[in-house]
């Protein structure tokens, strides 16, 4: 640790968030349970939040963190509405598979 101290640059954080975003996207493509798909959407939102904070620090600007705050609020609202929709759909149908939900009519 004395000779060579490697400090993670913003690029490291951005690459990590790119990997996280891709994992979330693959999860949305692969999984068929609507709840798990929602969790994968949360993964992607968190990757974007990490990007905002990293770029905000690299540019030395507080606006990145302010936008992350709003993203969190909107994500919370989105989860609440999405879970409400899932609950009301699942009450009528038994299966938990988005492939069965091919029509909007209740």
């Amino acid at each position: 640790m004395v000779g060579l101290v490697v400090v993670p640059t913003p690029t490291w954080y951005l690459v990590l968030s790119a990997v996280l975003f891709s994992i979330g996207a693959v999860g949305v493509l692969v999984r068929r349970n609507p709840l798990v798909m929602f969790m994968c959407i949360e993964l992607m939102l968190n990757a974007v939040n990490l990007t905002f904070v990293t770029v905000g620090r690299a540019m030395s600007d507080i606006d990145g963190q302010a936008i992350v705050f709003f993203v969190m609020v909107v994500a919370a609202a989105e989860v609440v509405v999405g879970l409400g929709i899932i609950v009301s759909i699942m009450r009528r149908r038994s299966g938990v598979n988005v492939d069965d939900l091919s029509e909007l009519r209740g």
Binding site: V7, T9, T11, L14, V15, L16, A18, L20, F21, S22, I23, G24, A25, V26, G27, L29, V30, R31, R32, N33, L35, V36, M39, C40, E42, L43, N46, N49, L50, V53, V55, G56, R57, M59, S60, D61, I62, D63, Q65, A66, V68, F69, F70, M72, V73, V74, A75, A76, A77, E78, V79, V81, L83, G84, I86, V87, S88, R91, V96, D99
Partner: protein, 179 residues
């Protein structure tokens, strides 16, 4: 030191994210999501975004994941999904290729665009122990309540609309129509 924190938090984030995808049981996926969210919170702290780290733990890990778990138990869907069955043939392979391609493209974009990260703003206050420990919160509050105060007010409207809409959506239908 920051390297050590970064490596540990990255391992947390990636293990949790892979757990969300590959765990069969939805409850296990939700718990893996908690691991990822805590890792992100650690990364926020190491980038001197302390307030956002606290909000991350409280809102995401505390509220959203609990909401997920409530819905999983409420619907009784907590039986394991059989990941062996592939609903559309070849979909997994294509999804994997798409994911790897996305990682490659995003990494290339990040590396080639890293020169664009220049100092632009007025600087981010980082808390100094004993002197001004809540500098980050003060600076963020100055930004939100002055520059973005209109967006902040709209946010409150959004939350009220979301709560009312969810109550209407998830309510059981009674025979008397809207009661």
């Amino acid at each position: 030191m920051e390297l050590f924190v970064f490596v540990c938090a990255s391992v947390m984030v990636l293990v949790g994210a892979l757990g969300v995808i590959f765990r069969k049981h939805p409850v296990h996926a939700a718990l893996s999501l908690v691991l990822t969210l805590f890792g992100i919170a650690v990364l926020f702290v190491s980038q001197s975004a302390e307030f956002l780290a606290a909000v991350q733990v409280i809102v995401y890990a505390g509220a959203i994941v609990i909401l997920f778990l409530f819905v999983i138990m409420l619907l009784g869907v907590d039986r394991a999904e059989d990941l062996k069955i592939e609903p559309l043939t070849g979909q997994r392979w294509i999804a994997g290729v798409v994911g790897i391609g996305m990682v490659g493209l995003l990494t290339a974009a990040v590396v080639s665009g890293s020169d664009a990260l220049r100092l632009r703003g007025a600087g981010i206050a980082s808390p100094v122990a004993g002197e001004n420990a809540d500098a980050n919160i003060q600076q963020l509050a100055n930004s939100i309540f002055s520059d973005y105060v209109f967006a902040f007010e709209i946010t409150s409207v959004l939350l009220v609309v979301a709560v009312v809409g969810t109550v209407l959506l998830a309510r059981r239908r009674t025979g008397k129509g809207i009661a």
